[in-house]
């Protein structure tokens, strides 16, 4: 055991010194062309990703998209089939989880049921052969930071509520001050209210500690709330990496666009002319149908395309005189959501209903069956490949 402690200390020393050296350098995680296969089933196809120091990045995608595989590779539970991984400037091949500067918060939390809260939180320090008195003081510090009441020290995880267990899991992961915290959908089992509270706690924690977080979730809304950058994944590929606003308003394709919230797609033909793109479609008529090329997904060229317009930038045109692009249809259903009213409008020639989200009023401007005209500014649209 002594030799192992020595090895641990040795690597710890290196990682501490490495951190000093790296403080000027930005990327803490460098994933380069990583692929992972389980038998013949490919889970990851040549993923490349850089995570900046202190950044909170979210990996988002439907189940089976490879986000958890990528996280397990980062944690060291799995080795990439090909490609390389560097964390804090060190190559991670054949380095076991214990010796990596990463800590993981598990989906089912994985708190040790036979250990008390204090023993759970102090476990990483105990493994690092830290002095007992120091463990005790750092556990107390950590519990205070995670707002866990001191009398919980000697309770067992089963005696705590879901949110408290969550905080114990976070505290256990953070106590040894890792460079990177990996979160594997830890909030997925919580009810909506608790989830919101934990989301703001994670954000708060991230702001306070300056550790890089990699947060895996299938909930893009959660990702948008928490993350500095979001990587949207689908069947082993990263479709798009960008800020929440980029992912929301400038998605790379219709999969990314449709993954969060409601979106309207209108089929159009586009004509690319240098830095300008003009579009025309059967269902919409525009006073000006000419937008800068920065309002289109990169690489989009003359041909079939789609106009994406978010429901909240669309207004109902009651006067019939507002400039912009307009579509006309019949109200199919409306939902009073309180702060807003959602209309679902059936438009001829469109399979999907057109969704409009207008600010809430005490009397809705239109009811089911009414003919309505929806209008939006061409500056608010985004052009996507069909």
């Amino acid at each position: 055991m002594a030799s192992q402690r020595f090895v641990y200390r040795f690597f710890h020393e290196i990682s501490v010194r490495g951190r000093l050296l790296l403080s000027q350098q930005d990327a803490i995680i460098e994933v380069d062309n990583v692929s992972k296969r389980y038998g013949t089933h490919p889970a990851l196809n040549g993923i490349s990703l850089e995570v900046g120091s202190g950044e909170l990045i979210a990996l988002v995608g439907p189940s089976g998209c490879g986000k958890t595989s990528l996280l397990k590779i980062l944690a060291g539970f799995e080795e990439p089939t090909t490609g390389s991984l560097r964390i804090a400037g060190r190559d991670m091949s054949a380095i076991p989880p214990a010796l990596r500067p990463t800590r993981m918060v598990f989906q089912k939390l994985a708190l040790f049921p036979h250990k008390t809260v204090a023993e759970n939180i102090g476990f990483p320090l105990k493994m690092a052969a830290t002095e007992r008195s120091e463990i005790a003081s750092r556990v107390a510090e950590m519990m205070e930071m995670m707002s866990l009441r001191p009398e919980y020290r000697d309770r067992y995880p089963a005696q705590l509520s879901g949110g408290e267990q969550q905080r114990v899991a976070l505290a256990r992961a953070m106590i040894s001050k890792p460079e990177v915290l990996l979160l594997d959908e830890p909030l997925s089992a919580l009810d909506a209210k608790l989830k919101k509270a934990m989301q703001s706690e994670i954000k708060h924690l991230h702001r306070n500690v300056g550790t890089s977080f990699v947060h895996v979730t299938h909930d893009l809304e959660e990702a948008m709330m928490l993350a500095d950058r979001i990587a949207v994944m689908q069947s082993g590929n990263i479709l798009q990496i960008g800020s929440p606003a980029e992912i929301y308003y400038q998605p790379a394709n219709s999969f990314v666009a449709g993954f969060i919230g409601e979106t309207n797609f209108l089929p159009v033909r586009i004509e690319r002319d240098g830095e300008r793109i003009s579009f025309s479609g059967e269902v919409l008529e525009c006073t000006s149908s000419d937008v800068p090329a920065t309002q289109a997904a990169p690489g989009l060229d003359t041909g079939e395309a789609m106009v994406m317009v978010r429901p909240e930038v669309v207004r109902l045109d009651t006067e019939g005189d507002q400039p912009g692009c307009r579509v006309t249809g019949t109200v199919d259903e409306l939902f009073m959501k309180g702060a807003s009213i959602q209309y679902q409008v059936r438009i001829e020639g469109l399979e999907r209903k057109f969704v409009i989200e207008t600010p809430g009023t005490s009397r809705p401007p239109a009811g089911p069956g009414d003919r309505v005209t929806a209008v939006f500014d061409p500056n608010d649209i985004w052009l996507l490949p069909a």
Binding site: M1, Q4, Y8, A75, G76, F77, P96, P97, A98, L99, T102, R103, M104, F106, Q107, K108, A110, L111, F112, P113, H114, F123, P124, M127, A128, R155, Y156, P157, A158, Q159, R172, S176
Partner: protein, 290 residues
């Protein structure tokens, strides 16, 4: 888990527990009481006489040889429990974590060995351990002289038989509690900087204790009652309690004495199990669940 408390006198409770209660009373309480009653009688010319005295108990407490047999039985049983548990833990661990692919095949093999009659298995060991048996033959082949070990008909051979015949109980109980441990807990321990060995002692072993305790009690109780192994493998040189009781009943036809010895064995066994449980319950992982 929540256990609902009901009144003893609740009619549904009494009715639903009736079959089990009847079974226990008929086949456990009544025979035990009869044994107790029997131990206060005497014998004359191989016949039972209803004397209602303490003559038999006086003999039990004055004869050292009975107690040395009891003590030997207790020691052998405890050693068997220890060996079974120590052998079963790595086997169960390997079954859960290393041999996942062939797990079912190995389990079937263990069940086959378990279901084979103990007499056959014990005689198999005789052939194996005999002076001219496989064991010595193997060592002779690699140059250890004609007779390396001569343990057949020694207590060691009895122990080998006992451990071999009772091993499946501990393997399966420990396997069951080990396989129920969430794999994430081990990964969490690795992630927190624990080595595999450390993880085993910090996570796997404490969470397997219920299985170890259950298997240990099973093997202990079964070991107290062995008579086959001491006879076949031990050569009858060092009879254990079960053999002593059998002889008292059958050969000496002294039923009251046999009954008294039976009670002594039951009390020793029960006290040991209670003491060991009290000790182990302290070690058992507390989870705060009720």
């Amino acid at each position: 888990m929540q256990i609902r408390t009901k009144r003893w006198s609740s009619p549904t409770l009494l009715l639903t527990t009736l079959p089990l209660a009847a079974l226990l009373i008929t086949f456990f309480i009544v025979p035990l009481a009869m044994t107790g009653v029997l131990s206060f009688q005497g014998t004359e010319y191989y016949r039972l006489v209803w004397t209602w005295d303490l003559e038999v108990w006086r003999e039990v407490f004055s004869q050292f040889s009975y107690w040395s047999t009891m003590l030997r039985t207790l020691t052998m049983a405890l050693i068997a429990v220890f060996l079974c548990v120590v052998i079963s833990i790595p086997v169960a661990y390997a079954l859960v974590h290393r041999l996942a692919a062939v797990q079912n095949h190995v389990k079937i093999l263990i069940v086959f060995a378990f279901l084979t009659d103990a007499v056959l298995k014990s005689f198999g060991w005789v052939l194996f351990l005999d002076r001219s048996g496989v064991f010595n033959g193997m060592f002779a082949l690699i140059g250890f002289g004609p007779v390396t070990t001569d343990i057949l008909f020694e207590p060691a051979a009895t122990m080998i038989g006992m451990v071999y015949n009772h091993l499946p109980y501990t393997i399966f109980t420990i396997y069951l509690s080990m396989s129920r441990i969430d794999r994430d807990l081990m990964q969490a321990a690795y992630d927190a900087g624990a080595s595999k060995i450390r993880t085993f002692f910090e996570v796997t072993l404490p969470l397997s204790l219920p299985g170890i305790l259950a298997g240990g009690v099973l093997v202990f109780v079964l070991s107290l009652g062995v008579f086959l192994e001491p006879k076949v493998l031990g050569g009858g040189k060092a009879p254990m309690a079960a053999e002593l009781i059998r002889q008292t009943f059958e050969t000496r036809v002294n039923w009251p004495l046999g009954a008294a010895l039976t009670l002594v064995l039951i009390v020793i066994g029960a006290l040991t199990v209670i003491a060991a449980s009290a000790l182990l319950l302290r070690l058992l992982p507390k989870t705060g669940e009720h």
